[in-house]
């Protein structure tokens, strides 16, 4: 669950990434790292088989400087020893659970900046999974599903489940198909609907925001303004 949540958070941070891979424990991570070159590693400390510290040390000892990913540590341990240990092992950030989305945002953007300065390729475009015919079909299905269920608090897991795909793959495919994150796409749909409701009905703002799937009026207002450049009230007044 947490990995999924982090995946979503990474997406929502709008940090330009190419691919997100997930591992269940330190040992798996080592396998992945040996096969591919990654720019960033987010790791917990307490993990079976190989914990975060050991993993970091492995990276330091076994990967060339250029091939090493940046490390962000996420942990329930607030003890200073662990933080110190991870930072000494090369982590650029140490985040406590439960994860503050603002904090992880900051850390991700910091990583992006460092990677850019390092001279890494700016991920232009999406590489990886190709949009096969079947995939395309699935994506369309997903889009339709979203269109039908936007008023509920749906998430990527639900939709990807609907189209029988694991969310990692779904995530990258969706991005290829629509050109944006799932969250962003969902938001856009919702705002569109909200606009229509504002124009065509007299429903109160609260009702409008709830009926398009926002939980909270202030949040709705904020996002509406981000997307359209004006407050919902103003928009309503316009038309």
């Amino acid at each position: 669950m947490v990995r999924y949540g982090i995946h979503v958070m990474i997406e929502n941070s709008d940090v330009p990434f190419q691919e997100i891979d997930e591992c269940r424990n330190g040992k798996e991570a080592v396998d992945y790292l040996q096969k591919n070159r990654y720019d960033l590693l987010l790791t917990d400390i307490r993990m079976p088989f190989m914990d975060g510290m050991e993993l970091s040390n492995w990276i330091q000892h076994n990967l060339e400087q250029d091939n090493r990913p940046l490390i962000i540590a996420v942990s329930g341990y607030s003890e200073f020893e662990y933080a110190k240990g991870m930072l000494e092992a090369g982590a650029i950030s140490y985040i406590l659970k439960p994860i503050d989305r603002k904090e992880i945002n900051r850390a991700l953007w910091k990583a992006e900046e460092i990677t850019r300065e390092r001279g890494g390729d700016s991920p232009a475009g999406v590489i990886g999974n190709e949009l096969t015919y079947i995939n395309r079909k699935k994506m369309q299905q997903a889009v339709d599903y979203i269109r039908k269920n936007y008023d509920r608090p749906i998430d990527m897991a639900e939709v990807s489940n609907q189209v029988s795909m694991n969310y990692t793959m779904f995530s990258s495919l969706f991005k290829q198909y629509t050109g944006m994150n799932f969250t962003t796409w969902l938001r856009k749909i919702r705002i569109e609907k909200a606009k229509r409701l504002l124009q065509n009905t007299d429903n109160k703002l609260n009702e409008v925001c709830r009926s398009v799937g926002f939980e909270d009026a202030s949040r709705f207002t904020k996002i509406f303004r981000e997307e359209t450049g004006m407050t919902p009230r103003a928009y309503r007044g316009k038309s």
């Binding site: 949540g5 607030s78 406590l96 659970k97 994860i99 989305r101 969902l186 799937g213 939980e215």
Partner: protein
């Protein structure tokens, strides 16, 4: 009386007891010794004087006896010569002898007797013959009747053949009885019966001054007198100035002897008596052959005084020695036992609560050994105490850690994380944020490491609390912070801000139930740090404010309500001092302000 003494003894200190014992035991023999010496003293001088006088007496006696023997021997040898006696009888009986023969006889024969008279001081050496009408040959040969007035004349027929000594023979005798020489007083003569022939008997007499025979009796001595008692009991040589005694009877009375003449003694006999309250010593020796006594009586005043002085001197010296002994025993025992008092003083100090007191190096080996053991023991006690404390602490620590484990913070965090993610991915950011705040509160409460946190951490806790409150309450509480970044690092006790906010909500804001702001201000002033939280709530009237103020500074421990303003106040006072604590200000229907004053610690400039 013994009981009292016993009790007194029991109450004495060890020092006193030891001192007393040593003094008694060392003094006792010395006292005995001195008593002995003192008593011996008069005895000794008495004996010394006795011995001296005895020796003197014996010397004088022996000299006398020697002289007497010499004369006796000479006399006997002369008259054992039969030629001499034959010649004498021939010349005396033969009337027809010529003048020339008689002269020869006088000059040659009788001159044998000269040998005796030539001895120094011998006055006369004469032979008295009992032959009537005999011609006298002076100065040696005389008719018996010439000696008619002599002392010994009456007894001349009964004289012992050994001869006898007669004293004071010239007493009453005409001085010129024997012509040819002068005869003085105080003479002694030795007479011996002579048998010239069966028909002719005589008496030979040697006369000498008594002073020659026994010079001592005529000597004038201070406080002493030598006398002679002859066979008739007559006393010679009495020094009247002495006034010791005047006659035999008195002497016998003084010495408690019935009769001197019959008194038998071997060698020298000594008497000590008191005459006229003066000590008198009498030494007597008897010449058995002649029944004559030589007696010396001497007043022993001087010796007696000397003896007394000696005794007193001994007493004083003894006293002095005793005093020195007692004083030095006292000093030595005190010094030796000094260690005991040092020891007991240190023990007392330890008893008063100083585990760090150690006994210094002591002088006496055994006590020092004991002291070292004691020090070692104290060291052990101290170490054990410290170990005990450490153990207690670590046990408590362990218990806390176990408690922590029970709550299993990580499980909590992970659960919260998962739930939060569930909300997050669905874009339910309110829920997600609330769960974040909840997680932060949990983390704050579960980390029991130190009792101090930074102000920043405390504020995070307050923020989390308010965030969650806002979900619960109908109205929203904003937190306005007016705090410099440097102050955020200030170390503050745990749980001082949130309880105040809780109070504010409960008493100040709930009834108003409208959106409001809580203002938080913190600054450093000199050595102190001040944190102020103000709410724009109901406020309190003066009575209520007073009551609350009393409650805050109340002394006794209240059982109810662990975290309240009183609790915060007490904790701050305990940690920082009486000067610090919590103050509350309020204006009715306006505001309530709680001000916390603590020490700025390392942050003050």
């Amino acid at each position: 009386m013994f009981v009292g003494f016993r009790r007194k003894y029991d109450n004495m200190t060890l020092f006193q007891k030891i001192r007393l014992s040593i003094q008694l035991f060392s003094v006792f023999p010395i006292i005995l010794l001195f008593i002995f010496l003192i008593l011996q003293s008069p005895v000794r001088w008495e004996q010394a004087a006795e011995e001296e006088m005895g020796n003197q007496m014996m010397e004088v006696f022996d000299a006398m006896v020697y002289k007497m023997n010499t004369i006796e021997l000479m006399t006997k040898s002369i008259f054992s010569d039969t030629w001499f006696t034959a010649e004498v009888s021939r010349v005396v009986t033969d009337n027809s002898l010529g003048e020339y023969e008689r002269l020869t006889f006088q000059k040659l024969t009788l001159s044998v007797l000269k040998t005796v008279s030539s001895i120094n001081q011998i006055q006369a050496s004469r032979l008295h013959l009992d032959y009537p009408m005999m011609r006298e040959y002076l100065p040696y040969l005389y008719r018996m009747d010439r000696a008619a007035g002599n002392l010994w004349y009456a007894e001349r027929k009964e004289l012992s053949i050994q001869g006898s000594w007669y004293f004071d023979v010239t007493d009453g005798q005409a001085k010129t009885l024997y012509s040819g020489y002068f005869v003085g007083d105080d003479m002694v003569s030795y007479v011996m019966p002579v048998k010239v022939t069966n028909e002719m008997e005589g008496v030979y007499e040697v006369v000498m001054p008594m002073m020659e025979l026994i010079p001592s009796i005529y000597e004038v001595e201070e406080d002493a007198d030598t006398i002679l008692i002859d066979s008739n009991g007559k006393l010679y040589g009495i020094d009247d100035n002495m006034g010791i005694f005047s006659d035999m009877a008195e002497l016998e009375r003084m010495l408690e002897i019935p009769s001197f003449c019959d008194y038998q003694v071997d060698g020298v006999k000594v008497w000590h008596i008191w005459k006229n309250s003066r000590p008198l010593m009498i030494v007597a020796q008897k010449h058995a052959g002649n029944d004559i006594w030589l007696i010396k009586a001497a007043f022993m005043d001087r010796q007696y005084r000397k003896g007394i002085t000696e005794a007193v001197g001994i007493l004083l010296v003894g006293g002095l020695i005793l005093g020195v002994l007692l004083w030095s025993v006292n000093g030595i025992v005190k010094k030796l036992l000094n260690d005991f008092s040092v020891f007991s003083n240190c023990v007392k100090k330890v008893g008063e609560g100083g585990l760090d007191v150690r006994i210094p190096r002591l002088r006496q080996v055994e006590i020092n050994a004991l002291a070292e053991e004691y020090n070692g023991m104290l060291e052990n006690v101290k170490k054990l105490t410290q170990d005990n404390i450490k153990r207690e602490v670590s046990i408590k620590d362990m218990q806390l850690k176990a408690l922590e484990k029970q709550i299993d913070a990580h499980f909590l965090y992970n659960v919260l994380e998962s739930v939060k993610m569930m909300a997050e991915v669905r874009g339910m950011f309110q829920v997600s944020d609330a769960l974040l705040a909840l997680g932060r509160m949990f983390r704050y409460n579960l980390e029991t490491g130190s009792h101090n946190v930074t102000l920043a951490e405390e504020i995070v806790y307050l923020e989390s609390y308010l965030q969650l409150s806002n979900i619960r309450l109908d109205y929203t509480i904003q937190l306005s912070e007016n705090i410099e970044d440097s102050v955020r690092a200030l170390k503050v006790p745990k749980m001082i801000l949130q309880p105040i906010a809780e109070n504010a909500i409960l008493y100040g804001l709930n009834e108003l139930a409208e959106d409001t702001t809580i203002y938080l201000k913190a600054y450093i002033k000199g050595r102190d740090a001040c944190i102020e939280m103000t709410d724009m709530g109901r406020g309190m009237d003066e009575n209520s404010l007073d009551a609350v103020r009393k409650k805050i500074s109340k002394r006794d421990d209240e059982k109810k309500g662990g975290i309240g303003l009183h609790n915060i106040h007490e904790r701050i006072r305990l940690m920082y001092g009486d000067r610090y604590g919590v103050r509350i200000y309020s204006k009715n229907n306006c505001y309530t302000k709680v001000s916390i004053l603590i020490s700025a610690g390392e942050l003050y400039e």
